[in-house]
Symmetry: C2
Subunit: 493 residues, 2 copies
């Protein structure tokens, strides 16, 4: 029917930056998320879920690297003309939730939330338009003990994922930078856009190095592709104090002293330094100094942080799928944001939190071979030899399932050869075969596919025959479950 | 600062039809989803995740009760001008996935997926704009054994959730209705819109009764609010054969015979009946006849079903939160959709699936008291009596956590009275107190809040003093973990 061929068919494709997640990754991810939940729960954090869609004005615009309004967010109009957006992180919805429910919440309020967030960004390597975050936040606690706790929570979580000795949690205080900026004439509301440029320049230290940051603080920087990023247009005497604070290669033994020098007596900077000292001391007493370190280069690119900021990086080398070393970036990041709830209520509500980049951490764990290897075993497959007896084959699969064994009936129309290939493809440890002969004798054949695959490598005839007999053998139908259990036991790790 | 008061603040609210999910419901839901996954896995289904956003044309328009284009779906334009939509179910994304990956999939392909879907509908009681579905589908299996398997999977899942004897799975075949419609002159492409009206009318039998359906098949129906829904405008002699097929009160002993009579020899109807008989026979052999029943009134409101259709209903009475009986609707629904992948490829790919309405099922389980009652125990709370010793209090919480006990440090600024209220609010089984006196003696006080709450009811003085001593007692700091463990053991179920 030529008519049919002319039908315009939709293309089976996904929009850029969006991906399907295969079974193996879902299982690994679920195991990782369960471990993270356990650690968060142990600290007394409670789960919360919020919807994917919120009023755009409730979410606000707090994305890094997005200066234009509405940039970076998927938005659409509701029937009544109001703008809605897909959440771009889990912090903005939390602020909305806390503002709406403040009276009835326990205070301080510790909550954790895990779920997808969406960014309407130009996708690229490692940049997705949907990805998963796992956040823990403490709302209503002004004490830096809450910040110190989150740093320890990050450390304990990475330990629980098997990363001992392969990560570092870095902590700093945004107010220290604010002090430096004030001292070079960048204080006050009218300098806010420039302060943000400085913040984002410093946040790129890891990627661009000190010279790159220097360029971004000054006139600007041309990247490898030839694109020019305009700089913060600071003068030389403004740039130097900033660079001296973040310059690598200094003696990292006493970061506090380094910072003290840089702050140079500014009030806000001194207050930030004092908080940092308190956090450092809480961390030391708790015995985390080897894993949580003060680092003045950590500023985080988000405008809304108001005090302590932290991030966790993997220290072990990470490679891409061709073995080339790559810069993974922080697997945990966070900080204090005392102004987010105030946006709604006008009242200051202190808050601090961390966010785990789930995909990034999963990739790191995979590369470092720390993923739970316990993947689901393929099901036992029951092929269909005689289509009229499909109910009998179904019963066999059911018997196995009732005994706690993953099992499936072959549901296609193909012959035995294709069915055996299917069983291989499904990772079946064995198949259960009953043709007419076996049926007449009240028997089934159990075929061990894992053992069977090793047979061709056996040179010795007697050995071969012995193994062959083990790899395929008849049992009375009544012994089906037992026999399959025996085969599964052969291949238990 | 009057300036500040004039700031326009966003309102902390959610768009209609969208809801936050509190901790208790998240925990109950997670336990239910884990049970469902286990059953689905045991049948050999593999997990898959697809993104929330797809190309609008790839999703198509297959919503029930939505005849206007784009109605019912949240859509927005991508940067390149292409329309994107939030998925409204998990079936359309599966069809896209299968069409894109057909060559490399095992065939038949069993997959399960769980996640939120979005409907841009007028929200109402029990109608949300974001809700969770849990689907299992088998793609590439033309055999009705695949449909029978899904009915049994639904039954086994409801059994695993503790609903034995409180549910029924109903199965029918869409082609039987197609046969009846053909026999009354509603066959052929140009009658498709009218067939859809008939379908949706029948699908409302449960809610509107036979007279309501009759009205919708004829001129139309005015509902309680006075709104008029236009009918399918069938003649009397067209309506009667449809009603006689779905009329309740007939002897339900042999549904197949009832249907056979209704089909009246139409080719497509006879083919549908034959498939239904085959499914019925597979179900009978497998011993599910008490839980899975043929029911000619099941048609499902979705246009794309091409053969067997099924649904599962709870048979136990369900009430709302004021104890009034409510119609919960189907907790599982599904059917065969042989055309969905063909939309993309032009090649027929048989497919069949079920979808669990997670919120609805959760509500049913809650009402029937079948929810896992094992909620997370509140954390042990360590109050802060001396703010200078916060590091010490933190260490106590840490010691408890390291021993596997959920524990948290109080992070607020309030005095002891508020801190004790906080501990109550958190459901803490006990608190660990160390003031100056205890510290000097190297002791801590353990206060059992559960036992403590029972003290006021004790009349006998000696009994009171004995219990009081049990409810609060000092231990050496080195025995902290042991003592807390003992208190927790008192209150284990």
């Amino acid at each position: 029917m030529s008519n049919k061929d002319e039908t315009v068919r939709p293309e089976a494709r996904l929009p850029k930056g969006l991906f399907d997640v295969p079974a193996e990754e879902i299982r690994a991810s679920a195991a990782m998320l369960a471990t993270i939940s356990d650690v968060f729960e142990s600290y007394g954090f409670e789960p919360l879920d919020t919807p994917a869609i919120e009023y755009s004005d409730a979410l606000g615009k707090f994305l890094p690297d997005q200066d234009r309004p509405n940039e970076g967010v998927f938005s659409f109009k509701d029937d009544d003309g109001e703008w809605l957006s897909l959440r771009y992180d889990l912090t903005a919805p939390l602020a909305r939730y806390v503002a709406a429910n403040y009276a009835t919440l326990p205070k301080p309020f510790r909550r954790y939330q895990s779920g997808p967030v969406w960014r309407n960004e130009k996708p690229g390597p490692g940049r997705f338009r949907q990805f998963t975050q796992f956040d823990a936040d403490t709302v209503g606690a002004a004490s830096v003990a809450a910040d110190a706790e989150l740093c320890m929570l990050a450390a304990d979580t990475l330990e629980a994922l098997g990363l001992r000795g392969q990560y570092v949690v870095k902590v700093n205080n945004r107010r220290i930078l604010d002090g430096v900026l004030e001292s070079i004439g960048l204080g006050g509301d009218n300098q806010a856009p420039r302060r943000l440029l400085v913040l984002r320049a410093i946040d790129k230290l890891d990627r661009l190095g000190l010279h790159g940051v220097e360029a971004l603080l000054g006139k600007g920087r041309k990247d490898d592709s030839g694109d020019f990023t305009k700089g913060a247009e600071l003068e030389r005497n403004q740039i130097v104090p900033i660079l001296s604070m973040i310059e690598p290669g200094r003696d990292r033994g006493d970061q506090i002293a380094v910072i003290d020098f840089g702050v140079g007596g500014s009030e806000i900077g001194t207050a930030g330094l004092k908080e940092l000292e308190q956090i450092n001391s809480l961390i030391a007493v708790a015995g985390y100094s080897d894993r949580i370190r003060v680092d003045p280069t950590v500023v985080r690119g988000l405008e809304y942080y108001t005090g302590p900021v932290f991030e966790a990086d993997l220290t072990a080398p990470i490679t891409d799928n061709r073995g080339q070393p790559i810069r993974l970036g922080s697997v945990v990041s966070g900080g204090r944001y005392d102004g987010l709830v105030e946006r709604f209520t006008g009242e200051k509500v202190p808050a601090t939190g961390i966010s785990i980049g789930v995909s990034r951490l999963l990739y790191g764990l995979k590369t470092l071979d720390k993923l739970s290897t316990e993947s689901a075993q393929g099901p036992v497959v029951v092929p269909v030899l005689d289509r009229d007896r499909i109910a009998d084959y179904q019963s066999m699969a059911m018997k196995l399932r009732r005994a706690g064994i993953r099992a499936e009936l072959y549901l296609g129309e193909s012959g035995m050869k294709v069915q055996m290939k299917y069983a291989d493809r499904r990772g079946a440890p064995c198949v259960v075969i009953q043709g007419g002969d076996e049926h007449a004798k009240g028997e089934v054949q159990i075929k061990d596919l894992i053992l069977g695959a090793t047979l061709t490598a056996i040179k010795d005839r007697d050995e071969y025959l012995k193994k062959q007999a083990e790899a395929q053998f008849p049992v009375p139908e009544s012994k089906l479950v037992e026999a399959v259990r025996d085969v599964l036991a052969r291949h238990k790790a």
